[in-house]
């Protein structure tokens, strides 16, 4: 066998070098998932069915088509509601900034994309609790997701976060998600519940306040104390209301009398120049005098909660039909 010539050796070396170079140029890197264009939250359901199902049952998912929202926003003719009821991604404008309104897929309301999608050019595609570059959605850990400032981009439009800042909860570092997005079954390993319980969950509302009543001379003093809401009661100013009613206690077999209105906790709309803001701050207690001769006998006092502020007949409200009972106490003579 003839020894290879210098020319052949040089060619072999060059080819080898070329091969090495080509390898480094075109080597398969540790497969980052292919960039996906997220255009709908439906795309999240395949990998995150549990979270997606929770979100579907949440009020975030109904923020666009809930009949109360439609009525109070005049079918979104009040366009300032659109920004938060169908928001573009929070991370697009940034924490501390107001969100911008969407014109696409508004019916998805406040969806996965609203909270998790990162802007183009970010390190990953979505914000999550872990870095996982090989996952399809390439999540990047973002602590901001758990901060009150994140929720504030929308919820402070109704002053909820501002109210929270003045509370003891804020000083103790208890934020929005501690109550409204708890760990599933209380276990941090199971992640946070995306149902986002709030004012539509009457049990949560019941746990926020304590109703009591006592006699002082000839009058009755009902009292409502904000014992557990991390913000005013009720919050989400303007739309929500809580009313204290009372009536003589019906004897056994006797039909109950109509409820008599005593007090309302509510913040007014801008046009309601004659309505005073009566929201109940966190940790505070408000006494409501009931000065009526009929209250001298046995009475019952009740706190009712409404998701919309108006009664069908303001002169003769029907709380049992139009509101939800929060608490009720009896007071004997």
């Amino acid at each position: 066998m003839q020894a290879p010539s210098l020319r052949q050796i040089s060619a072999a070396v060059l080819l080898s070098l070329g091969g090495v170079l080509l390898y480094f140029v075109f080597q398969p890197v540790e497969a980052p998932a292919q960039a996906t264009l997220f255009t709908s939250s439906d795309q999240c359901a395949a990998c995150h069915p549990k979270v997606f199902a929770e979100w579907q049952n949440s009020w975030h998912a109904r923020s666009w088509d809930d009949p109360d929202v439609l009525a109070l926003s005049n079918d979104f003719a009040n366009t300032d509601c659109i920004d938060c009821h169908a928001p573009r991604p929070v991370f697009e404008t940034g924490i501390g900034q107001r969100v911008l309104p969407r014109s696409a897929r508004r019916a998805e309301g406040v969806d996965c994309i609203s909270c998790h999608l990162l802007p183009e050019g970010s390190e990953g595609l979505v914000a999550g609790t872990l870095d996982a570059p090989s996952a399809a959605c390439r999540p990047v850990a973002k602590r901001e997701l758990a901060q009150v400032e994140f929720c504030a981009v929308c919820h402070d439009q109704h002053k909820t976060v501002e109210q929270w800042r003045a509370t003891d909860y804020a000083k103790r570092g208890i934020g929005c998600i501690d109550c409204h997005m708890p760990f599933r079954n209380g276990d941090p390993n199971l992640g946070r519940d995306h149902t986002m319980h709030g004012g539509h969950d009457i049990e949560l509302v019941r746990s926020a306040v304590r109703l009591s009543a006592r006699r002082e001379g000839s009058r009755v003093l009902a009292a409502v104390e904000n014992v557990a809401a991390g913000h005013h009661f009720p919050t989400d100013e303007r739309a929500r209301a809580a009313d204290v009613f009372w009536r003589p206690l019906a004897a056994a077999g006797e039909a109950p009398q109509r409820w008599r209105w005593a007090y309302r906790f509510r913040s007014p709309y801008r046009h309601e120049t004659d309505v005073v803001d009566t929201l109940l701050p966190a940790h505070e207690k408000r006494e409501i005098p009931i000065e009526d001769a009929a209250a001298a006998g046995a009475i019952e006092v009740a706190l009712f909660y409404k998701l919309t502020p108006y009664w069908k007949d303001p002169e003769n409200p029907a709380p049992e039909l139009e509101a939800q009972l929060v608490q009720r106490v009896e007071l004997l003579p």
């Binding site: 070329g18 666009w64 439009q157």
Partner: protein, 483 residues
């Protein structure tokens, strides 16, 4: 060597082709410098000193005289007030809001403030117009501000128009606005007239409409309303002289579009939308501001002005080149009826990477309603595309090319999960109404069924179940009638 060259050629061949050059939409600071520039024109805030007890007592005597029937004394008192106006403004402002005094006494205070016509007196009347809890006080303030020469108050009067619930005050506000060549209040007067709560209010509304129509040189209130909303009235009337102070107030409103609180933003959006058409130029300039909120909300104001903002068409067309402003600009172009935008909007429909713009473009093309857009809208209606884009295209096609597949798709959207059901319902309802007008013998029955399908008690909010029931019933009616 040849191998090395081959290798280099291979590597060179792997380079991406150069991206086509894209024209850059240049942003700059527009609003803040303009506000700073106009600052010197601002009327200094009224610094009215708290009235002393002596001034109060003297004023009390004067108001007693003004409310008495002796007219000769009345003129003398007004002259006295005018000669020492600065001294009495604060006390008069307090007197207007003094709920313990008689109505006559308070009206006399309003009248006296109006008579003074000082900036501070105007501000005092405006303050009561905006905040007084008593409707009759607001109405009196509006009547007595009418004729004011201080056009800087226009934005604040428009804001009051937004929230005014008292019908007499709404009628008075229309007259006050008309003094500044602004007829945004006419619509409210028509509403009061049509609601007809009392014969007195109907008569007052008719009287106001007649007076305003005569002042604007048109036949009646309806014509006035239509010509104001279409922009025809302003194009015909001589150009308004706008004071620097009003210009300053207007640019401050634009600046507030960047505020955090959406209620502030929405108030300013309302004011700017109802300003006279000279505001269009300022809003169009704002489309270039570095602040995204200012850009987007300026485009929204132009959208709501509709045909009155048609002069902004070219600038809005340019704003389609700025990613975050583009969808708001597209919506505005549709509302303005800017026909030259059709090509750019059709191009935007075919860009799958920007669903925001594609959706807005589809709806804008529906508003432009040009037959040339049918092929582009058909392509956006293709089954493989996103359902919300298909719906936007279908709603646009309903007026242009209402084929059975378009109707069927929209009918399906009325009952589909997480679809814009009310938007589909609204589009099909409009179509049914149009058809009913064109062919009553064929469609009037279906329209009657459609209207009857709304079972919710008037004035009450339907439950989720009632809403679903209404949508299902109407979907069925539309399918039968329109397919």
């Amino acid at each position: 060597m040849r191998t090395a060259l081959l290798l280099l050629a291979l590597l060179a061949g792997c380079e991406q082709p150069a991206a086509p050059s894209v024209s850059v939409f240049e942003l700059r600071d527009v609003v803040a410098p303009r506000v700073a520039e106009l600052q010197s024109a601002a009327v200094a805030p009224s610094n009215v000193a708290a009235p002393s007890e002596q001034v109060r007592e003297e004023l009390s005597g004067m108001l007693e005289t003004l409310t008495s029937p002796r007219s000769s004394m009345r003129e003398a008192v007004l002259e006295d007030l005018r000669s020492r106006a600065e001294l009495f403004v604060g006390a008069l402002a307090s007197a207007v809001e003094d709920a313990e005094q008689s109505a006559e006494w308070r009206i006399a205070a309003i009248e006296a403030l109006s008579w003074l016509d000082l900036p501070a007196a105007t501000d005092a009347l405006l303050q009561s117009l905006q905040t007084s809890p008593q409707p009759w006080v607001r109405a009196q303030c509006a009547w007595h501000l009418t004729g004011s020469k201080h056009d800087r108050i226009l934005p604040r009067v428009l804001l009051r128009l937004r929230y005014e619930v008292d019908e007499e005050t709404a009628i008075a506000l229309a007259g006050l606005l008309a003094c500044f060549g602004n007829y945004a209040g006419v619509d409210g007067v028509c509403v009061v007239r049509d609601r007809a709560r009392t014969p007195e209010l109907v008569a007052l509304a008719n009287e106001q409409l007649t007076a305003l129509a005569a002042a604007a040189g048109v036949g009646d209130g309806e014509e006035l309303r239509a010509k104001w909303q279409s922009g025809e009235l302003e194009s015909r009337l001589p150009a308004l002289e706008v004071s620097k102070a009003l210009e300053f107030e207007t640019w401050k409103c634009i600046q507030a579009l960047g505020e955090w609180d959406l209620r502030v933003v929405d108030d300013r959006r309302f004011v700017l939308t109802h300003m006279n058409a000279w505001v269009v130029d300022a809003l169009a300039q704002t489309l270039r501001d570095t602040n995204v909120y200012l850009r987007v909300h300026a485009a929204q104001c132009l959208e709501r002005m509709g045909p009155r903002a048609k002069a902004a068409g070219p600038q809005l067309l340019e704003a389609l080149g700025e990613a975050r402003t583009a969808s708001a600009a597209a919506a505005a172009l549709g509302a303005l009826g800017h026909a030259p935008a059709a090509q750019r909007l059709e191009d935007a429909l075919s860009n799958p990477r920007d669903p925001e713009l594609a959706n807005a473009a589809a709806r804008a093309l529906g508003a432009l309603a040009q037959p040339r857009s049918i092929p582009a809208l058909r392509r956006a209606f293709a089954p493989e595309l996103a359902a919300d884009l298909r719906q936007a295209a279908a709603e646009a096609l309903l007026a242009l090319d209402p084929s059975a597949d378009v109707v069927e798709f929209l009918v399906g959207r009325m009952t589909a999960a997480r679809a814009e059901a009310l938007s589909a319902e609204s589009a099909l309802g409009r179509r049914l109404l149009e058809q009913s007008k064109a062919q009553p013998e064929r469609f009037a029955g279906a329209l009657a069924q459609w209207l009857a399908a709304d079972k919710a008690e008037s004035g009450s909010i339907p439950t989720r179940e009632q809403l679903a029931e209404r949508l299902a019933a109407r979907a069925s009616i539309a399918r039968e009638a329109l397919r």
